[in-house]
Symmetry: C2
Subunit: 274 residues, 2 copies
């Protein structure tokens, strides 16, 4: 059955929304809706205009034989400011401070809508066009990492703290974390999980000294894999000098007189579209 | 600016798609698009019809003061059969069998589109209307669990194998797994992560004897939390008698002459809408 324009637009919007960063051909839609390609082309222009106008994300068309249409999830400046401010407010509560000044985060970073928004911000500020994989380390960053992977249309790798019998041969390294490098830990990744020469983006939930992310960099080196950049949700202001240089964070955490001061990164916000 | 019907439908389809299992009021759309509520009501009817016709999921309207419209992600029978058959085929490869007959799964269960489809199947076969949380145990099931949480609009809890300094006071239990109950392990959940009297659905990637899921049941009992049901991606045929009774699985795994035979659960498929 041939569809009316309004119905085609609704269906196309839904299908694009379900398939971020995938190229869908005009032919695919033309066959699905028994329409001419020129009709689909005009539909896509309408979708693009309405997504722009309603701030629902970017829609781009790719010309040529392998061409089609691609939906790119985007967060806009106002939405991001509102979201990060509310996250900072919730994180500032005194009840979240645990012995050793650890921050209780799991109600937020296991919330699917919070981590999806975080993924959208990451996708809006990082250039992932050359990335082959996202890489995180177990456990707390995994929900955010898989949501980001969905948005960027990339596979995820999860580094384990120990060799696992269900993951086959692995490369393991040791790394140091904690104050004065006091803690030595191991991390492990299956050999066949990643191709030599790949490019990756590293994700984690929290960074203090940067020891864990430095370890992930070192592990990637053993796989001859290039790290494009690293992104974390929260980075502490102290120590100012981290073990890694090229990274982005969404929220900074400063400890003042036993209180936590959390602020959205102004660099991140300045990069976003209004 | 007032929108044309076709543009409103595209925007509504996109917004519903981004907010599974959330009730969005007609007022929200009426204000956003400067339209009358009656116009929005007729738009929603069109969306419902086109989603049904194109098998894009269910759209239901909820009457009354707290009413509105809700999009419920759904997988249909044909799509599910195709997906599970292709998953079984990929899982049957001999190269996936590791020493100790463990199955190499991580390229599939860390793939955001695979785990999202799995989440859609879970949401199509399990009644989650009374659930307050989804619960999984680290690590391999987390990507699938957070995707399911997004689809069901529920928060996720992740049980850890050990007490964590960044998660506050916890309840820990021991549980037994492995052949002849040969392995004793611990699992841990922060006390303040879940409210007494809640109802949960347990998720995991793989079940052999059911020891881990039995452990999760026992842990939930310590929190005075009721388990509605348990769902896993793969369940082995042997041992036939598991440590838990009330569970669902997507794929069964049978070992025959050193080969793995993987089959989609016919019970699951029979429950799906055509």
């Amino acid at each position: 059955m041939k569809l009316k324009k309004a119905h085609r637009l609704a269906a196309i919007a839904k299908i694009l929304s379900d398939n971020p960063n995938k190229i869908l051909t005009f032919n695919y839609f033309a066959e699905r809706f028994f329409s001419a390609k020129s009709t689909i082309s005009s539909d896509i222009s309408s979708i693009k205009a309405i997504f722009d106008e309603q701030k629902l994300g970017r829609v781009i068309t790719i010309p040529g034989a392998a061409g089609g249409v691609k939906y790119i999830p985007t967060i806009y400046k106002d939405e991001c400011i509102t979201f990060l401010n509310s996250l900072c407010e919730r994180l500032s509560s005194k009840e979240r401070i645990l012995p050793g000044r650890f921050l209780y985060l799991i109600d937020l970073i296991y919330d699917p809508f919070v981590v999806e928004k975080i993924g959208k911000i990451f996708a809006s500020i990082v250039n992932y066009s050359e990335a082959d994989y996202l890489v995180t380390i177990e456990t707390k960053g995994i929900p955010m990492a898989i949501m980001t992977a969905k948005i960027m249309n990339l596979p995820l790798l999860i580094i384990r703290k120990n060799t696992k019998i269900s993951e086959g041969p692995s490369i393991n390294i040791t790394y140091v974390t904690g104050k004065n490098n006091s803690k030595i830990q191991t991390m492990s990744l299956p050999i066949k999980s990643i191709k030599k020469g790949s490019k990756v983006i590293i994700l984690d939930d929290f960074m203090r000294g940067g020891g864990t992310i430095k370890g992930m960099h070192d592990l990637m080196k053993e796989f001859s894999v290039e790290v494009i950049t690293s992104i974390v949700i929260i980075a502490t202001q102290e120590p100012e000098i981290k073990k890694i240089h090229n990274y982005e964070y969404l929220i900074s955490l400063e400890e003042q007189d036993g209180k936590n001061i959390l602020k959205p990164s102004s660099k991140i916000i300045s990069q976003l579209e209004s």
